[in-house]
Symmetry: C2
Subunit: 370 residues, 2 copies
Amino acid sequence: MIRIAIDAMGGDHAPREVVLGSVIAAKEYGIAIQLVGPPDVISAELKRNSVKEVLGGRSPESMNISIVAASEVVEMGEKPSRAVLKKKDSSILVATKQVAKGEADGVVAAGSTGAAAVAAQIALGKLQGADKAAICVGMPTINNEPCLLLDGGASVDCSAEELYHFGVMGSVLFKGLYNTAQPRVGLLNIGTEETKGNDLVRDAYKIFSESKGLNFIGFVEGRDYPLGKVDVVVTDGFTGNVSLKTAEGIARMMSQILRQELMSSIRGKVAGIMAEPYLKALKARVDHNELGGALLLGVKGVYVIAHGGSKHTAIKNAIRVAKDMVIANVIKKMEQALKVDSTQNGNGNGSDHNDADSDGKKKVSAAESR
Amino acid sequence: MIRIAIDAMGGDHAPREVVLGSVIAAKEYGIAIQLVGPPDVISAELKRNSVKEVLGGRSPESMNISIVAASEVVEMGEKPSRAVLKKKDSSILVATKQVAKGEADGVVAAGSTGAAAVAAQIALGKLQGADKAAICVGMPTINNEPCLLLDGGASVDCSAEELYHFGVMGSVLFKGLYNTAQPRVGLLNIGTEETKGNDLVRDAYKIFSESKGLNFIGFVEGRDYPLGKVDVVVTDGFTGNVSLKTAEGIARMMSQILRQELMSSIRGKVAGIMAEPYLKALKARVDHNELGGALLLGVKGVYVIAHGGSKHTAIKNAIRVAKDMVIANVIKKMEQALKVDSTQNGNGNGSDHNDADSDGKKKVSAAESR
């Protein structure tokens, strides 16, 4: 039975919505749920009517819902990454350790990506073959499947080879989540010609082109992924973060402008009332991608970071994604794909020269020690 | 009288829509228009009924519409920048030279930013105090004024000081176009704390913070500009291009999804018909920002690049922006602002160390030679 550890204390609506969403997930997916936090707080939440209704008279234990004690909580006011380093018994760190110890198959934590990244670094360590972690975000598209964008902000400075690792991980993930044999992987650039862009993307282009395991479709532009032309879009954490936040801002702007226009006349108001369910459907398709949050990739375990504002449905969706990642065995497959890559491509393809932060030697020795 | 030179042969709808839009602009704004291209082609266009209607029986000459001969045209199939280098008598180069020779106060060219950048480089040269050119794009916001984003793709690798120059030029431009005393200038980053981002933006932050002439509001994120929280958003050409194309893609995606949802049921179709004018108004507000295209900044002249797909109204708007830039005397004011800056900040503030392409020496000597 798949076991998911949940930081019961993370996010704006914790513990209430987190516990409720977890209980619904346990029931709906038939998985074991480990709620991590102060036992008395979680016990009290499990006794609420909303939870009891879901349980339908059964005990939490009989539904494979257990409590894992953690005495500390990363509070709203704290700088999350520093707090995780300081609080050794924080719920997010203890939840992450469940995976490290083999007690759970994946973690779900709502709220700070910074806290999750630090907890993963401390407790899980890096995936073999990946030099940097990446935040993978499901971006809305005109299609049913989202486009996976990575890195969304974990690694601001990347080498060409690290971008390639992101591509490999993203491709494995897309295959696993959406049952697609050959996801289209693209490198984000400012044009589609090979000569466009900066040294980083041109160097990465060479590595991607030579790869045998990826369905690399070349350079893609910022407008291509919302229009469904690519399944996995790879970029450094700086550019990726700007792109995903631009997407968020433009989506909100469009909704606001449309509402302004509809409110500008009587006819508009009537049209607005009639169009309301469709505007809601639009919002739902844009806001809540199927990932239920962001995924932390490049670490040795399934790690889903739900939005800070997650209510129970979003928590349930995040747990579903974690479960699907476990079923698809993505961590093992990512390691295998990265290993094949390192055998094929040798020691970095000479792609490190343009990355001030790169550390060629360390990478080579890491590759040799495998 | 303000004189604007127009590349009559540029863009998908040239020469017809370009000539028509120019004639409307001449009439509406009372400015002199120089149509640049093969005289016989332009003469034929000026004899069309649509143009005659605008002229209302008057001759083009009496409306200060003249033809400037250029025998060559950069064709659709050509690589635009190379074509401009090769064709010395191309309409875009001749139009640009009108400004260089003092025969015109600004240029409008539709189509390729690459061709415009090369033509400007050949004929106009750099603005004193600016080391790199920038494409400035008006991005839609929830407010009436757009946000000026630069660089949109002219300079992929920038130093911190070059970003500062972009900020100075963008601020002068916003003041001139929108009559705002203290435009809010922000640096695009992946978070708003001073410690966020890469070396480039952190170094630039210091220069911006020390500047006395700018209303610097600090780091801004990709979602901030569509929501109207900043007037001028500064970034390198790579990030800027990704951001503006993401914005374009998301806007198109939103429209498509909404139409999909509306078409999904009878009620939706009715709502869609009722909402049609408001959807059109939304599209108009998002698509056609007030700049009528992109502005090429950092060159010694007013340069507006209209969209390749511009019809006459877009051409007219682009000419209006060129005229407004001339009236506001932005080129002179940018040079003055950049000069004040170089006196205040000395030789580059030590900000060049993180830019592989930077050329500190050249910058210093350029500053000294002023």
